[in-house]
Each structure stands twice: as C-alpha cells, then as structure tokens.
Symmetry: C2
Subunit: 384 residues, 2 copies
C-alpha cells in the first residue's frame, strides 16, 4: 500500500531540454517550422528500472511546468496541482515518476512568442507560428524520448490539459496505458470560442500591445480584461452568488463613483491585475487559439467522434463537474458515448460541485479517490 | 376588436422636452444635482380625451426613444420594438397612446455624459453624476407631466427596461394600472455585475477613452470589446451552437493567423464594430452602473422583496425566457413568488426559446399573445 501521508514532493528544480536545432526544426501542423525549441519541465518521484511508471501531467491555459512542490523552501505557493501530486496523493510519487512541462507557445520557460528568435535577436512576438494542441503534444513526445520514456502509465490533464490528453491517445495510441481527461472536451463550443475571441480582442485592441511588439516587461491592460472575463467563465453563477452575491467590498453604501465596489468587481480586478505579473499577452493569444482550433472529430474522424476514438488504445477516464458551464458535462458525456459506440468502455465521473470549471484545481475527495483508484487499477490489471 | 393588420406606425419625428433648468435642477438619488435635462421621446397613436390610454415603453441598455416606425421613409431599419408596437400589434396604437423616451445618462438625445455641460461648454464626460434606475424613472415622470398624462394604462420594458418598469410601480404606485416586466430582475446577480464590470474595464483600460475626455467622434475600441462580451450574454449556449457552431466564416480550413475566422468571431467583431458608430462609451459606463446598483429589496423592502412589493398597486405581468441566462427565469419566479407572498397575484409567462436574453426583441407568438391579452384584460376589467 502507498504511504498515506499527505506530503509535498518538496523543493524541485525546473529543468530544460533543447531540440529541433536548425536545420532540424520541428514542422508544425500548419506546415511552418520552428527551432530550436527549449522545453522547461519538472519531474517528481523516480523512474523505475522498467521505465514503465511514468505519468505525464499536462497543464491548462495559464499553467506551467511547476505542478507540484516548491521552487524554494520559502515559497508560500506550491505547484498548481500540488493537491493531486505527491507522496501518498492521488498521483502518488512514491509509485509514479511524474513529468510536467510548459507547453509550446507558453511563457513559462518553453519556447513561445516571448522567446528570442535566433534569426533576429528579438522576441518572436506574433511572428511566432500559430501552434496547435497537436504541436504541444509532439513537443512533449520529444521530451519523453529525451528522458528515455517509451511507455506512459498515464497522461492526465484538465481543461486545455484534457485536450492534450486526448491528443496524446490519438496521436500516439501505443504509448500511454491510460489517460484521464478532466473538465475538458473534444472541441470547444461556439460560446467558449466566443469568450476566447473577446479575450484576444481585449488584448489586440490595446495600443500597449503594439501589434505584439511590446517590450518584455510591458503591462498590457487588455490582458487583465481578458483574464477578468476568463475568471467569470471558471466560476459558476450559483457559486459566484454564494461567494460574492451583491456584497460591497468595503463600503456600506454605494459610492456613486466609477470604482470597483461590489466584492465581485474587486475580486476580478485583483485577478486581472496579478495576471499581468505572471503571464504574457502574446502567449495568451497563441494558447487560446490552439484551444479554439482543437477538434478531435474533424481531425481524426472525418467529423465523427466515434470514428476518431476507434484508434485509441488507452484505458480512458473522463471527469466533469456539474456546475462547469465552460466545459459542460454534456461534452464529457458525448465523449463517453462515442467511446462506447466505438466498442470501448470509459470510466466517467460527473462530480456535483458548485465551483464551476475551477473545480478541477480545488480539493475534492471524489476527484482524488477517482483518480487514485483509476491509476491503481491500471497498474494492477497490467493492461497495455 | 382591434384591427389585425400588422402595420407600422409609419414615419415618426423624435421630440424634445427640457426641464430642471437651473436653479431648479433635479436632485438625484446620489444627492447630486443635474440640470437642465433634455429628454428625447417619441409617441405613437393618439391620447384619448380621458387621457387614460397611455402606455409608457422603456428601453434596455443600448435602446433609445425610437421604439417603433421609421424616421425617414427610406429607413431600412425600424424602431427597436416595431414588432411589438403598431396598429394591430400587441401594443396596439389604434387603442393606445405609446410614449418612449431615451433614458437619463443615455446618448440618444436625452441628457447624458456626452451632453454639453452648460457650466463649462464642454461635454460632461465622467463629471456627469452617476444616475440610477430611479433617476431615469423620475425623469420619465417629468415627461409624462409635461404631456399631461397623470395615469398610465401600462408601463412595459425588457431587460434594463424591466427594471424601470419595477421602479415605476414602486416609486409611483398610483400611476400605472398595470406593468409588464420582460426578461428582467429585481437585482442583478453577481455574474451579471461581473460581466458589466469587465465591459466597463474594457472601456476604462483603453487609452482612447482618455479618462472619459475623448472627443465626441472618437472610436473607443474598448467599447467594441464590451459589446462583443455583451452579445455572448444575450445569446444562449445552445442557440449559439445551433446558429454558429464551429463553422468557419469563409475559409475551408484554418488560416493559422490571428484573424477572425470562426463565424462566431466574425459575428461578434461586426457587432462590436458597428456599436462604436451608434453608442457612447461613457454612456455605457453610466447605464451599466445604474443596472448594477438597482436592488428592489434593498431599496424598498429592507432586504425583503415581498415587503418591497407590498406597496405595488399595478396589475403585474412577468415574462422570462427559458434560455436566458443573463436574466434567468429563476429571477422572474422569485418576483412572482414575492408578489404571491405579499397577497397579490401576478401573471407569469416562462417562454421556451433557444435565443437567450435576446428573445425579448425577437418575434415570438407567445410573447405577442401574452402582452396583447394582458393589456386588453386590464382595459376591459377597468381595474385601477
């Protein structure tokens, strides 16, 4: 039995791996080439001798390689999925070797629009090629090759991470024994694309964006607006009502001035403002575009999800949250049905929460238990 | 019986009325004063000798006084509720004298932030006082006094118009025999306030806004972003899926460029861009703020909607639309229940549509029939 102590993986050091050096650039789905590509990643736990205990964790829109532990002993904030990954935790680092890398096009150490284009000596900006979920996964495959990992026990991710999980079992059906898709979908809805489009417009309409050629440390207020909007879609209406309601932040009565005064306004303004310190406006464009483009049925099934999933060999698990309206349960159910129609079974958890899309990042016993048991079952059954 | 011919009120001429000339400025809910106030309004039909056949129509966020008919014979677009108002239409101008005015703080002919401040000779900008739904209604009361109308057959409005309707029967319980509140609420939810806050931030974060001191003809791209976001909330997820889905606007395949390519993107960009030609960015701030502030229970019932509604004498009708998630049916049902608890009955229609909040502006037989019959019933019963 795994030790049940809920503990941290401790202090971890991000690592870097560079490939696709010219003239061996990576050819992207668009046909464009990019190279060199540096990938920033972290690992937790130990790769066993058989090299078959690796789990790849993939991150969402604003995530990064820092999924668990701390960078310094004095860090107050742990990695973005520290509640999930660690010794005795659902993704148990006493059993599994966990890898997490920042996505291609991101801004947390992996090559993206804020990286220096070696041909010009300046940041790529929007001369960086448009990348896809498929390209992100291709880069992760190169990283696994570099680490000597030919088989995965599982690949796990939520939201945009879930899209990468799907792409993994579609693009490389023989590599991962299992896969867990949390709060995600096989293709964004029109409404989700619409929210992304408004976010991108908030950035590109901002003169500070300068057609993507802003200085590296420039604050782009339009990015804060995009993030504020994003946060509305990550919460649920009921959850927001319960947590904020119509409460005023500090005054007893209206100010009759144009300032943030409802608690929800203050919350969103704070989330928007702090996002400017930790995310790059151009990366926001690229990563949301990659999500908008992703379409499993169109790319792998000539319009049919069932047909697309027929190539999948991994044991699948889907998780949705009842109050998630950005990636609604309907979309997970569609995927489960498509798997069933293609003659395969898929585990499915629809978890009743009030926290909307954000639920996948929050403590949740059903989620923890579901992922822990699923991973152990794959392990024990020895299925390939 | 009313003549059934579905016809237009024809060419109408907006009219103006000015009051609150200094030193007799209007005192607003905030305690601030404003004057003079010019109101732009239109009327359709004929006021009868008893002056008891008037219906006040009140408009939503981006509406204006032009509710029906045309300004010129060559106009391709009719007034914003032309499907509702006209000879033989639900608000039948062969029976009723209809009045519609632009709200205080608006930008369609009634005094607002884009009006010239007589004290400075320059536009008010954000030195214009913050106005409330109550202030808008007070100004409408002055207009009715000017027109010699002491009693209303009904007051009707959707969305922010519905808030004004509520305010009418609360602030002036003896004036209107009946009232119809369409797709509205007694107080915005935290989520609706959040969307308004993001829209306002999109404007105020835009350097072109210049702290509200932009030139009158300046285009404020942030306003387009706010409008794009607004449009997402006016449609439903299912309706958007059905109408736009993931269809590309003109290409067969992805462009791998940052341009609008999904049909929903093109639609929103168009709606955003055209809004710049017809609406004022500062007015957007004022009108959304007025909506955020409106809170029937807090203002009239010490926190209780039931208590607030106990003062209402008008015969009430509420209408909601099943797919409206900005002003969800839940909020109409709360109002109906509060009326029932306060010992009064209220008619309620929850109409099954896929068009979201926008449904109140679209052709809908159930809506038409409901409003027509309600208005005739009030007429025939002779209730006060």
């Amino acid at each position: 039995m795994a030790k049940k102590r809920e503990a941290s993986v401790g202090v971890v050091e991000p690592q870097k791996f560079t490939f696709a050096r010219p003239p061996h650039e990576l050819v992207l789905e668009s046909g464009q080439k990019i190279g060199p590509i540096t990938v920033t990643y972290e690992t937790y736990g130990t790769l066993n001798a058989a090299k078959d205990n690796a789990i790849l964790v993939v991150h969402a829109l604003s995530g990064d390689a820092h999924a668990a532990g701390f960078h310094k002993k004095t860090d107050k904030k742990s990695g973005w999925w520290d509640i999930m990954i660690g010794p005795g935790k659902p993704v148990d680092t006493t059993r599994f070797f966990v890898v997490c890398s920042n996505v291609l096009g991101g801004c947390k150490g992996t090559t993206g629009p804020s990286s220096i284009n070696p041909k010009t000596g300046k940041p790529y900006g929007i001369s960086f090629p448009v990348v896809t979920i498929g390209d992100m996964v291709t880069v992760q495959k190169h990283l696994l090759d570099h680490l000597g990992i030919q088989k995965l026990h599982s690949v796990i991710g939520g939201s945009m991470g879930g899209m990468q999980v799907l792409e993994w079992v579609l693009q490389y059906p023989d590599i991962s024994k299992s896969a867990i898709v949390v709060a995600s979908c096989a293709a964004l809805s029109a409404q989700a694309i619409a929210f992304d489009a408004v976010g991108r417009n908030a950035i590109t309409a901002d003169p500070a964006w300068k057609n993507g050629k802003y200085a590296g440390n420039a604050r782009i207020p339009g990015l804060a607006v995009a993030r504020m909007l994003g946060h509305i879609t990550y919460l649920s209406e009921a959850g927001m009502r319960e947590r904020f309601g119509r409460t005023l932040y500090e005054n007893d009565d209206y100010s009759y001035e144009f300032k943030d005064e409802f608690a929800i306004e203050t919350y969103l303004a704070y989330k928007g403002s702090t996002f400017l310190d930790r995310f790059d406006a151009n990366s926001y464009l690229y990563v949301t575009k990659a999500m908008d483009y992703y379409d499993v049925a169109a790319q792998y099934g000539k319009g049919s999800l069932e047909k697309a999933f027929s190539r999948v060999k991994a044991k699948m698990m889907f998780v949705s949250f009842t109050s998630d309206w950005l990636f609604p349960p309907r979309q997970s159910i569609e995927m489960v049905h498509a798997f069933q129609k293609s003659g395969k079974d898929a585990a499915y958890l629809n978890i009743d929460t009030a926290y909307g899309h954000d639920s996948f990042l929050l403590p949740c016993d059903r989620l923890f238990r579901g992922i822990r048991n699923f991973l152990l079952h794959v392990k024990d059954s020895g299925e390939a």
